[in-house]
Subunit: 456 residues, 3 copies
Amino acid sequence: TANDAANADVIGGLDAFFLIFAGALVFFMQVGFAMLLAGSIREKNVANVLLWNLLDSAGGALAFWSIGFALAYGGDTPGGPKTFVGNTGFFLATEGIDLHFWFFQFAFSCAVSSITAGAVAERTKMTAYLFFSFFLVGFVYPVCAHSYWSYNGFLSAFTAEPFMGQGVIDLAGSGPVHMCGGAAALVMCVILGPRMGRFYDSEGNLRDEPKPMGPHSVTLMFLGTFGLWFGWYGFNPGSVLFISTDNQGNVAGLAAVNTTLGAAGGVLAGLITSTIIGARKTGLYEWDTTAAMNGGLTGLAAITAGCASVEPWAGFLIGIIAGWIYLSASKLILKLKIDDAVDAIPVHLFGGAWGVIACGFFSNPARMAASGVPTAHVGVFYGGGGTLLGIQILAVLFVFGWTSVTFVPFCLGLKALNMLRIDELEEEVGMDISRHKGPAYRPEVVDEGAIDNLNQ
Amino acid sequence: TANDAANADVIGGLDAFFLIFAGALVFFMQVGFAMLLAGSIREKNVANVLLWNLLDSAGGALAFWSIGFALAYGGDTPGGPKTFVGNTGFFLATEGIDLHFWFFQFAFSCAVSSITAGAVAERTKMTAYLFFSFFLVGFVYPVCAHSYWSYNGFLSAFTAEPFMGQGVIDLAGSGPVHMCGGAAALVMCVILGPRMGRFYDSEGNLRDEPKPMGPHSVTLMFLGTFGLWFGWYGFNPGSVLFISTDNQGNVAGLAAVNTTLGAAGGVLAGLITSTIIGARKTGLYEWDTTAAMNGGLTGLAAITAGCASVEPWAGFLIGIIAGWIYLSASKLILKLKIDDAVDAIPVHLFGGAWGVIACGFFSNPARMAASGVPTAHVGVFYGGGGTLLGIQILAVLFVFGWTSVTFVPFCLGLKALNMLRIDELEEEVGMDISRHKGPAYRPEVVDEGAIDNLNQ
Amino acid sequence: TANDAANADVIGGLDAFFLIFAGALVFFMQVGFAMLLAGSIREKNVANVLLWNLLDSAGGALAFWSIGFALAYGGDTPGGPKTFVGNTGFFLATEGIDLHFWFFQFAFSCAVSSITAGAVAERTKMTAYLFFSFFLVGFVYPVCAHSYWSYNGFLSAFTAEPFMGQGVIDLAGSGPVHMCGGAAALVMCVILGPRMGRFYDSEGNLRDEPKPMGPHSVTLMFLGTFGLWFGWYGFNPGSVLFISTDNQGNVAGLAAVNTTLGAAGGVLAGLITSTIIGARKTGLYEWDTTAAMNGGLTGLAAITAGCASVEPWAGFLIGIIAGWIYLSASKLILKLKIDDAVDAIPVHLFGGAWGVIACGFFSNPARMAASGVPTAHVGVFYGGGGTLLGIQILAVLFVFGWTSVTFVPFCLGLKALNMLRIDELEEEVGMDISRHKGPAYRPEVVDEGAIDNLNQ
């Protein structure tokens, strides 16, 4: 009828509006990443990582437009057979692709890349980063996204015959986005090796404590953290993808609430726990800003999977545990002498993995149903036994395995070709001077005499 | 009918979308506050106030989730009896709460807390701030919000029998948000006392002029001011709460226009007036960036109450007067030797109070009706006599009274327990070094020899 | 029927929501401009340009509210006669103006002004900038907007008898916004002359290379660039103006995609081309952050016109060519000894002109029809012959001609009255100290002794 048509029209516009603005908020996470990374590292490589971040958007757009989107979602067919990757839509050259959907997914793909930029900062060659980032956004991430979210993905809850009758629970990508980026960062960090002087002094002796290398600006770190938290309100609620029914509105609302509580739990657990541990050792109550910020970001990376399938109390709890996981994982990688310049591995790899697994415990049947996934198997705490938990663990292993299997040879290849790491002198001086025409900050001394003259 | 149902469905989704995105913009005000406060103070306490800001969000989420929301809106019943506070919905554990509404209100509650963070900076103990902030968001603010906005609030225009047949006019919270935060800041500043050396020199002699303590970065202040102005487009238009009718769209549009003109009026009045006053004294035309920024923010705090009930010309005028009020109030508190590190008291307490009172003068009957409040009494300039003005003044006194009555004993208690103020040495060194593991900025000198080697 | 009415109601609310939030994103471009400009220049004038930016918003609001909007859109009548300017709606004092439309257009008008702020930085008097900005937003820009977009504009595609049966293609303002701002900047830069010492040394000898004057902070430049890119997702998709049909959703989606690809093309072309050119000269691969950022911004300025009428591949190509245009134009104006402190002329004037012209080549008939413009003449590459191209070139000439014709006498007048340029001593010391009560950054040295005491 005419009314149905009118309604369909409004719905079409409304849903496009939703994804465009949610996508814009996700894009804002690029601001967040850029400022967080820049703040976290040493002054001499700031312009370098900021440029990488811009290339995560620009090169990411090229990679996702040319190849990535087609592999992730090209030719998605509800009810169709399972596939490893999609196969149409390269360069958006296929009819009928929803462009607002492409835009939203593009913004996601940039985030994957930006997760890695900070971890490998201060020692990676510019071209290496470009290849690495293109490979990640164009190929490795799309396979993860396809598996989790496509109508034809083998782990997806949206296929005709979902995995184990259920499929993996991950609304917004703790697995395909955060873990994938985090795992790529881990591989690259291990193969690159640490920054000069980080674990050993100039004579090759192991330091008692790793040498601090940054942050050069705590202010920028906070700016970035707030920017990411803000953008996450596009990332998680936006992943509901449609907002034209009352139910979708409620699901998106739950996602916003859980995003808030997950972040809050992570901040509080990261901050308070590190303060108490420190005070037990030294007797002094110090409040570690980095623990608060990265705790919160780990909470966000974790709540991303279950934001639409767990209750608010569980969202808060997932955040708290994420804060603890951050503190432990951050220590662990230092112990393993892995040098992650911005702690992206603890935040995104460990936080993301915890988030996917947490869905196996906390997924609530009613919330799952509302968010449009099967409820054949539900969270352990809702009497679901271990099946959903098993699926979630498998999904974690898949992302980690796939990302490692593709990145280890890729990075080793770059290394063999001597394309991976900058030379020592460049590392000492910093890439801003060596490669980017000067330092990021150029203060200037005004002639005191002139000031005196002016004042007369 | 099916069409009615379809429409109801679209409306449900649309209204949720509106509040989620408006809430995200309000959350962005956290970025604005953080950067404004950090920029306004001295370098040595920057990490400290930034952490407070993050805790306004994280601890605020906990406070508002556990207690605050329930007291503010729990069990709201249209047409029900008047109550002092709500009583259900603790931890969101009651069925049927609109989660997008919770999210939007959470973002508001963070703003109340962030208003105070700057004022008391550079001398308050970390734990004191945490208690203070929790008490504010969890208890004091919710009572204000309940009174003004609940279906059961005693001042509310939305009750069955609104106060004086009318109820208070305050769409978005010049009273419950800005005045409440500003009044809490005032109480705390008075009880804390000024920063060391602010009004007296090291020998205890009164200075001719208060010693400037900040800003350490005008750039950050502008970033924060713009961020706040941007976020205000969620704060004010979002407070219409629904956007699924033509009328609601118009009301939200008016709110956006008035927000713009209120800010503009405040910037221009603050800047130009201070320039003229200065030029009369010194003969030199100087343009004070702080007067422009804080004038604008005072305009925003003021237009928040009447943004949907006054005409655009009145919005601009309210902003201009707000700019003047800022300049006067800022001088006044210095004269009273109250040390507000970021001028939050002039901006939010005085600006907020002016905004509530201004509604008594400028509220336009047609605009009031469109925004859904009674029109039993309208603005003085529309022939309403003094009744609405009286209601508005009473509403101002209520917020100020309630906030003072609760905070004076609370802060005196903290003081008595010696939990309020850091010790002198810590104040001299700054809290970043004493409590947060190092300064906010850590520049690094690159070896000149290495640069020379590189250039060869 | 009741259902029609219900639908109309939802549509009214939805469309208002769309423009309010798109307008807020456009307003966020003020943050972007502010940070980009501040970062690009020397430290000693940072507070000054930031204040200008705030006045672009505040003074811009006054200018656009009082005069600008009325001239641009006042009394717009579908099917009515062609007019040079509108003539009602001064101070929004006419009934029936859509306030959300006003708000969206206000945010555009601020952007025009902010484009110019950076170009003329570090040497323009405060009052000159105020007059200049008011004249631009209140009068010069509105004529451009009216001509391109009004129902009664002589170049408009939306009139009863559009120009050449077609009218100009420019969805979001490569012409009226970016070119207009860029042309005003060019006029002002030429009449002002370069900053002291930029092209000649203190003895008046021509330098081999212009003396670098900034950036003082590459970090702020990136923050600004990302902020602008983000805001552009309001600027371009928002210019569809309505989002209540499926088709409008698709058009807005295309605008978002093209915005992304145009930016990406510009970043990549600017960066890679400048690197290759540099390496050919010096043998060293350097990656110029400014070329990447300004290349991207030129891509954005260019794709603004055709974002809804060209295919994604064309969007990317337009961006690439924009990147090249930036590099060439930036060199050209230096050769002409025009001193544009932030390269606004290459980005906005040249980028904007290219964007309008590109529509003459790439406009796709189906996309044009969907976006609601006639298809009497289409792009050269779609068999449209040269007519549309001719229209577009004429539209470019109009904006450039009109802006020059109005600004040349205006700026010469200011110069004749000695109101244009600050004196030499002030220029040497910087305007922050001379006019804004102190430098933008005020670091502070904490007494080492106190730190030692604390640590004991």
